[in-house]
């Protein structure tokens, strides 16, 4: 069973080929997990629903890193941790000019690392232009 967690539109647009990102909700007690665990941290149940993780979120903290690992052909990359309305905190890449703690962001899914044959997709948090 899959359902969307937010009322806002997914910010997919040009990245519509990107697969959705899921959180994992315990079928027994409703606790939401990200990343995936096999056992619920609250009740110990092993049955989970996938729920799409998208929409608006708030920036909790961020950094810009200047020494990247092998495979990232960029001088620097920005990362952030964001909080979703359901309380879940998730880390991802940040595509924001001037990050500020507490700013509202929009979730997008994009290529986080180019691969041979297959790219890696994941969260890229962007400025929320739909706000006004």
């Amino acid at each position: 069973m899959r359902e969307t967690m937010s009322e806002t539109m997914p910010a997919a647009d040009a990245k519509c080929a990107a697969p959705p990102m899921y959180a994992f909700r315990c079928e027994a007690c409703g606790e939401i997990h990200y990343p995936r665990h096999y056992v619920c941290k609250t009740c110990g149940s092993q049955d989970f629903d996938e729920v799409v993780l998208d929409g608006a979120c708030l920036l909790e903290t961020w950094t810009r890193v200047f020494n990247l690992p092998e495979g990232y052909m960029k001088p620097s990359l920005c990362f952030g941790m964001v909080r979703f309305p359901n309380g879940l905190v998730v880390a991802g890449q940040l595509d924001v000019e001037e990050p500020r703690i507490g700013m509202e962001l929009q979730t997008s899914v994009g290529v986080i690392k180019e691969g041979i044959g297959q790219d890696n997709y994941g969260f890229i948090f962007i400025e929320n232009n739909m706000k006004e």
Partner: protein
């Protein structure tokens, strides 16, 4: 359960090694054996060798490296294993050696920590270290340990008022301590004004992971350290008086850092230290000297709070008041810490233990904490997802 002590220590000069991985590990091992008065001849009496390393397989292309080292030292037929627990491999290996002796499976265990990271390019090395991050939620994003430390530092600054200047002050403290440690990688004290001045800061002390700058993070080092553990009931076989392993604690935390309930807490540090205090019957106020895992300087501050030396949010205030320098209330990282002594991952926990043994023996020349009787080691794996704490005591 048998009591366990340390009767021999060895430590190479950290930095860029000019010898092979095996040579470097053997150098530390031989120093520890010599220090204990053991000659590695047939009948040497070493029952077990544990080699702590994170990257011997990945970086140096040596798997099962403990076997090679036992053979090179002609310590056959001693039992041998390689222990990997990320940057906490060293203290983990000491914990396992302790367990073997306490259980009666061995009387003597030689623990060697050795890491040679300067063999590969900076970006290969960065990728290698990043492999300890969460394999789905962190690593594929290009996140690194400095990335997690940068985000963590920003949270601590916002919550407790710690500033970049505090980190610079800490950098100067640890580099100053390293000036008295001949084994330290970097023996140079940065100028506080120069590394904090707005003018030209991006040249002198550039950003690594905003807000962390060059002088806030440890260098990449090669190095090895070794300790010889033995049962206290056979300790009189050795030349040096044993320093007792009084407490061991370990705890894990969420692998993905974003998943932590209180993002400014280092819960595994708190729990590991609590367990070590309980086992030893000691309190934070009984500790005279500590080696805390300052791969990023922010960690020394927060660990000093989580292990109970200071209240939460007051570690940087204690630093400002000089409480953590030699001669202060509780000297931290007299060796120079990972920041200045260097951080060869798998060797670090063993190296921290060597420093505490030196302090408790009264052999820490130039940086001695007078009258030190109890010392604490915190060896931090991942970004705090697996932490080992050790308490060592000098018996009367």
């Amino acid at each position: 359960m048998r009591s366990v002590g340390i009767v021999g220590i060895g430590h190479t000069k950290f930095g860029k090694s000019r010898v092979s991985y095996t040579d470097m590990a053997c150098e530390a091992a031989l120093q520890a054996l010599k220090d204990a008065g053991v000659t590695p001849l047939p009948g040497h009496g070493i029952d077990q060798v544990l080699l702590a390393t994170m990257g011997a397989s990945m970086i140096n292309h040596q798997s099962g490296a403990a076997s090679a080292i036992v053979d090179t030292l002609n310590l056959r037929p001693a039992m041998a294993e390689t222990v990997e627990n990320g940057p906490a491999s060293g203290a983990s290996a000491i914990k396992l050696g302790y367990s073997m002796i306490a259980s009666g499976l061995a009387d003597t265990v030689l623990v060697i920590g050795a890491e040679m990271m300067r063999k590969v390019s900076g970006w290969e090395g960065t990728d290698f270290v990043a492999t300890m991050l969460h394999p789905e939620a962190e690593y594929p994003y290009g996140m690194t340990l400095p990335a997690l430390a940068g985000m963590f530092t920003r949270l601590i600054m916002g919550k407790y008022g710690l500033t970049s200047k505090d980190l610079a002050l800490l950098s100067v403290k640890n580099h100053s301590n390293a000036m008295h440690n001949p084994c330290a990688h970097i023996r140079m004290v940065p100028d506080l004004e120069a590394i904090t001045a707005d003018e030209d800061i991006e040249t002198v002390n550039p950003l690594v992971a905003d807000p962390l700058r060059l002088y806030d993070v440890c260098p990449v080092s090669d190095g090895a350290a070794a300790v010889l553990l033995c049962a206290m009931d056979v300790a009189d076989r050795f030349e040096k008086k044993a320093i007792r392993v009084a407490g061991i604690g370990q705890a894990t935390d969420t692998h993905a850092v974003a998943e932590r309930e209180v993002p400014t807490d280092l819960l595994a540090v708190r729990m590991a230290a609590q367990r070590a205090y309980e086992m030893s019957g000691l309190l934070p106020t009984d500790i005279d000297v500590a080696e805390l895992h300052d791969a990023f300087l922010i960690l020394e501050i927060v660990e000093s709070e989580e292990v109970g030396f200071f209240k939460r949010g007051e570690g940087h205030l204690a630093l400002r008041e000089g409480k953590t320098q030699i001669g202060g209330e509780i000297p931290i990282n007299t060796s120079g810490g990972l920041k200045a002594k260097g951080h060869p991952l798998g060797a670090t926990g063993v190296s921290q233990t060597v420093e505490i043994v030196r302090q408790l023996r009264g052999e820490a020349e130039g940086r001695q904490v007078e009258g030190a009787r109890n010392g604490l080691v915190v060896n931090f794996g991942g970004f705090g997802n697996n932490v080992v704490a050790l308490i060592l005591s000098k018996d009367a």
